[in-house]
Amino acid sequence: MELRPRVLVTKIGLDGHDRGARVVAACLRDAGMEVVYTPPWQDIPAVVKLAIEEDIDVIGISSLATDHLIVPALIEALRAAGAGDVAVIVGGIVPDEEVPALIEAGVAQVFHPGAPLARIADFVRSAAARVRATRFPDAR
């Protein structure tokens, strides 16, 4: 029985550069995942609602300016809505010294520019499998 990973690729905050988000979304699709893709500038409540309705396992946030600074607020909001089990990853330009704070806040992984797509896909797949296994303990 196959529980196909469901992934959300989105951008929160102010920046709109979405080339990276698009490339990653297409790559995850080609790796066999079901990818919900949104335009940039989503606000946090909208992302939380979407993640719940679409039964999302992994949220990929693309941040090229400084929008990663509000990812902790997103994770907080997910937890408050009972969706704290969603794995959140961040891709883009994040200064090294700000990575620990993100991990501390609950980010599963930070991918910097140049990270091979195959590595991102592998990570997302296994993170999704873990989430699926806890959500559907007796699915298979």
């Binding site: 102010l14 709109g16 893709y37």
Partner: protein
Amino acid sequence: MTRLSQEVHTASPAPGADPAARQSAEDASRLREAAERWRAEYAASVGAQPDAVNRSGIAIEPLYVPADAPPSFLDRIGYPGQPPYTRGIYATMHRGRSWSQRQLVGLGTPADYNARLRRLIEGGTTAVSLIPCNSVFRGFDMNEVPAELLGTCGTVVDTVEHLETCLDGLDLARTSVALNDPLPFTLLAFLIVAAERRGLDPACLAGTSNQSDYLSHCVANHMFFRLSLPGSRRVLLDEIAFCMGRMPRWNTLSVVGQHMQQAGATPAQAMAFTLSSAIQYARDCIARGMRPDEFLPRFTFFFDVSISFFEEIAKFRAGRRLWTRIARDTLGARDARAWRFKFHAQTSGVDLTRAQPLNNIARVAVQAMAGIFGGLQSLHTDAWDEALSTPGPAGARIAVATQNILREEARLTDVIDPLGGSWYVEQLTDRMEAEIERTLAIVEDAGGMYRAVEAGLVQRMIGESARRFQEHIESGEQVCVGVNAWREPDEGQTHLAQPRPDPARMRSHLESFRRWKAGRPAAAVSRALDDLTRAAHDDTANTFEQVVAAARSGCTHGEICARLRRELGTGQPLAMI
């Protein structure tokens, strides 16, 4: 410096020439005449300059041309400062006047910006630029966005007073100000009001409305895309019309290829889409009753320079040649100033890598060289640490030093268009021109740039190119040193980024903004906003004129943007993969 270089030439005939072809006497006289004209113009603006001499003692001419130029030489290549401007838009190019270096990035509050600016003023700067915070770019006031983000990418400027603080101590009549100011051009409105308050006539203001090219914002899903496409079209024309009469030194429009190349367009596509946008804007202006000779000289262009060295040089040379033809033949401009393709270039951040980040210094140098040989008028070099975070001061210093090294140590500017006449460069210029024309035709067939963007055609083409490029990197076909080749085992160095703005200072900026808002004459503000509403629905009114009036009445940036979003529609991204 009076000799022409016929005696010292080393270049060969232009490509495609038939070596057997005999130049007629008429051709010879045309060539002589063009050479004389160039020499006269060059001498007039450069004056008596000492000969440049290289380390071996050889005198370096400002320009080299073929001895046996074929008849096609003048039509395809010619002299700098003469149509088709393949070799540069001025007779002297960088030998006469260097490009402008625009580097200023100010984070934090207006006071923080002013502190940096004062250091520049002491250094005698004549050109400044202002990059506002992303909250401003998105069209919001500082109280409307997550506080964590304020001032992290630029300066928070929401009112006339904020801009006054930023530019305090600056001689507005004598400094060129580049504003990163997407439509509805609130920063320009603030600048006009700030000038008025100092008792200056806005006609004295010189500078550029950067980021006025809404089509490029829409294509790249850029945060600058604030209003719907039809609304944007209207407001841009209003700004151009407003400035045409009153602010003759203001560059109203900067047509941008940068966002599109950053979003994945190939260099040829980026040039083509930019030219298509310029054609669209010009046609819109003409439909509004403006004359090309009036508005075209105030158009400027802005491009990305990638690491693909010769391709970029050829891109710029071909673009210059094409624009001459477009402005003259397609748009009907008679004034030669309208045919000149003035452009600012920024080295491409996309090529910079996080792995082995100091390699980026070399990349930026090569990109900058491509832009210089391509004949740019203004250059921004990225800092090497751009790929890691918002660049710190040390990185910014190296970026500036790179420009100084290329100009003063390497002396890249001694000779105008030094690669002109190279078999490779001339043929590549021709091939790029053909490629650009092919894309121009696709856009034209789709009904012009506005329609092509509205239908998503441009976005799709760029998306495909981005995808292809990424595949080439993943497959290793496109080498990226330190990423897919020449990797080093130990890359665990950490890097010190630009510190985030001081939260306490930002909080007090926010508080004082709130207090200031509460203390305004509310009636005047709401009247001004209602006037804006009326102007938005009245085709005979000028919306930008009302934006300036609203600024005068104390309306904030966010209020003006919100009102126009309501009346003219929000810019909705066309998300597609």
